[in-house]
């Protein structure tokens, strides 16, 4: 027994590198953990679009198209109308796994964040690192979803550069918001199922996902207006098949998504640091 490997641990370069790159090290750790779940991430990434597009896109779509003709909703086949909503929803749902579980684990289950915070890494860098790694999952989910959409003929090649970025933006923005929310959870019993039931499900159902928001009674349309899914879906439809959308609405939707992400990350950073140092 002797501990002799000494030199680099004490160099000033190592110290300043650690202080600068903390978020990257946290992301590196998260990717390593996610790699252990690669099978379920891939299954989820492929299975989700295939199931939705088959059952609703083709199944429900054939009914819609039969009733409204081939120019179903918005003058496009139902599948084309549906595609932007589904890819965005998938990005937003995928990110939750990589935000809520590790955050609850880090603060409550195995308290790993407290171990990280005992190193040069700050609480804010832990929040950044988590979101960074979750973004990798968002990119993966969005690209896979888009490929399946392409295979189903729901989108054209040109949408790669528009629809995928919108889905990624929505995913990251939503991830940041969920990061801030989860960082406040003191008692995890039922938190995840609560979020699923009172946030995710209503958002998925009332954001103009399956039909235009305007067909809903005005009394529940507000759910869509505050929903990042609706804003991202509108942008996606505008970009993918040219749905009519006035410039001011494009600006609002884009600003809403960016603001949600920035605000979420600022709050999350602050909450992480405070919770790990009190």
């Amino acid at each position: 027994m002797s501990l002799v490997t000494r030199a680099p641990a004490h160099s000033p370069e190592v110290d300043s590198r650690a202080a600068r790159r903390g978020a990257l090290y946290v992301a590196e750790y998260r990717l390593r953990s996610m790699w252990k779940w690669r099978r379920s991430i891939i299954t989820d990434g492929l299975g989700n679009p295939i199931l939705y597009l088959t059952s609703i896109g083709l199944g429900v779509g054939s009914l819609v198209n039969a009733n409204l003709g081939p120019t179903g909703i918005d003058g496009v086949p139902y599948l084309v109308f549906l595609a932007p909503a589904l890819i965005t929803a998938a990005a937003m749902q995928g990110v939750m796994n990589e935000i809520m579980f590790p955050t609850l684990a880090g603060f409550l289950w195995d308290k790993g964040f407290f171990a990280m915070r005992a190193t040069p890494i700050s609480g804010g860098q832990i929040a950044d690192g988590l979101l960074l790694a979750a973004s990798a999952r968002i990119v993966f989910t969005s690209v896979v979803y888009w490929l399946v959409l392409l295979a189903f003929g729901a989108v054209g090649w040109s949408s790669a550069l528009t629809l995928i970025p919108v889905a990624i933006l929505a995913g990251i923005s939503w991830g940041a918001a969920m990061l801030a929310a989860t960082a406040n959870v003191k008692d995890d019993s039922g938190f995840i199922s609560l979020v699923m039931r009172i946030v995710i499900m209503p958002m998925f159902l009332f954001s103009g996902t399956f039909y235009p928001l305007s067909t809903l009674p005005i009394a529940v349309q507000w759910i869509g207006w505050i929903s990042p899914l609706w804003h991202a879906t509108e942008l996606g439809r505008w970009l993918s098949y040219g749905m009519a959308m006035p410039p001011w609405q494009v600006a609002i939707s884009l600003a809403y998504l960016i603001a949600l992400g920035v605000l979420g990350l600022i709050l999350a950073r602050r909450r992480f640091e405070r919770r790990l140092t009190s």
Partner: protein, 305 residues
């Protein structure tokens, strides 16, 4: 290495650490002894630069933790009270990932991890997930993890609490080797035997205050006698008999379950008790320990809540 002056931490109206002073020198093994809630862990977290102090001065490795937290933490090893290794990763991965948080390169970490696995006697478990480790193994891993950055100070919060006796002895042996290698250790504990085993010098804390400071031997000399006679007469009769035998030693403590007589010669005192016609249900003559020091200083035992 560490210097605290009037160090204070308040949470609202509650003062967890109330103006304590201490110094820790390089190569020293320094202990903070006290019952649960004495302020030990709070003090540790302030030293570890993960909790800001309310007032007072604190210097660690020549730096102020309020302003240079990351630079201080880069050179500390922290072993928290509760093991917080990552359950999804293997033993080796836990060490590797933790080393990365310090910005350490692969070329350093690879051989360092091998050394630490040997040190922690976890070579066979390198690819095992954390869940499959025993309590003692998890603890050794947490200590190995705390050493990954070759820290200048290793801080151990209750290092063996909750372990079985055999696992404790293995751990003490590992820590003793570190001490022999010249490591600077800061240890909190509410086990007096642990403090006696590991600490060159210690402070006794109670309710946020330092109530005594010294080497284990000097504290025992100062606050306790050489030997102690423990006698039990049954819970009902202890209080009744105590005044009748209290004068036999230098001092007596009456606990609910036993009477302690502090004396220079234990066997003789026990004989004196018997000579007065009292026959205890059980009796024990032992050397004084830090437990007795604590009892003297606070009127409570270390295990009391």
């Amino acid at each position: 290495m560490i210097s605290a002056n009037g160090l204070t931490k308040r949470y609202g109206d509650f003062t967890a650490v109330d103006g304590i002073d201490f110094e820790v020198a390089r190569g020293e093994s320094f202990g903070i002894l006290g019952p649960n809630g004495a302020g030990k862990s709070t003090t540790m977290r302030m030293i570890a630069a993960t909790l800001l102090r309310t007032s007072g001065d604190l210097t660690i490795l020549g730096k102020d933790p309020s302003r240079e937290g990351p630079a201080i933490r880069a050179h500390l090893g922290v072993v928290p009270q509760q093991d917080n290794n990552d359950a999804e990763l293997t033993v080796r991965e836990n060490l590797y990932v933790y080393g990365r948080y310090f910005g350490l390169p692969r070329s350093y970490l690879k051989p360092r991890i091998e050394e630490l696995l040997a040190f922690a006697q976890l070579e066979d478990k390198r690819d095992t997930k954390i869940d499959a480790l025993s309590g003692g193994m998890k603890r050794r891993l947490t200590i190995a993890r705390g050493l990954i950055n070759d820290p200048e100070i290793l801080m151990l919060d209750e290092p063996t609490t909750g372990l079985d006796p055999q696992a404790r002895h293995i751990l003490w042996d590992r820590l003793f080797r570190l001490k022999e290698d010249g490591a600077t250790l800061v240890v909190t504990t509410h086990h007096m035997d642990e403090a006696e085993q590991l600490c060159d010098r210690l402070v006794v804390m109670d309710r946020g205050h330092v109530v005594a400071e010294g080497t284990p031997a000097s504290l025992i000399r100062e606050y306790a006698s050489k030997e102690v006679v423990e006698v039990r007469f049954g819970s009902d009769r202890n209080a009744e008999i105590a005044p009748l035998i209290a004068d036999i030693g230098e001092r007596a403590e009456i606990l609910p379950d036993r009477i302690l007589i502090y004396t220079e010669a234990g066997e003789e005192s026990l004989q004196a008790i018997v000579a007065r016609g009292f026959s205890p249900v059980t009796s024990l003559v032992r050397r004084s320990s830090l437990e007795d020091v604590f009892l003297r200083l606070t009127g409570r035992t270390l295990e009391d809540e």
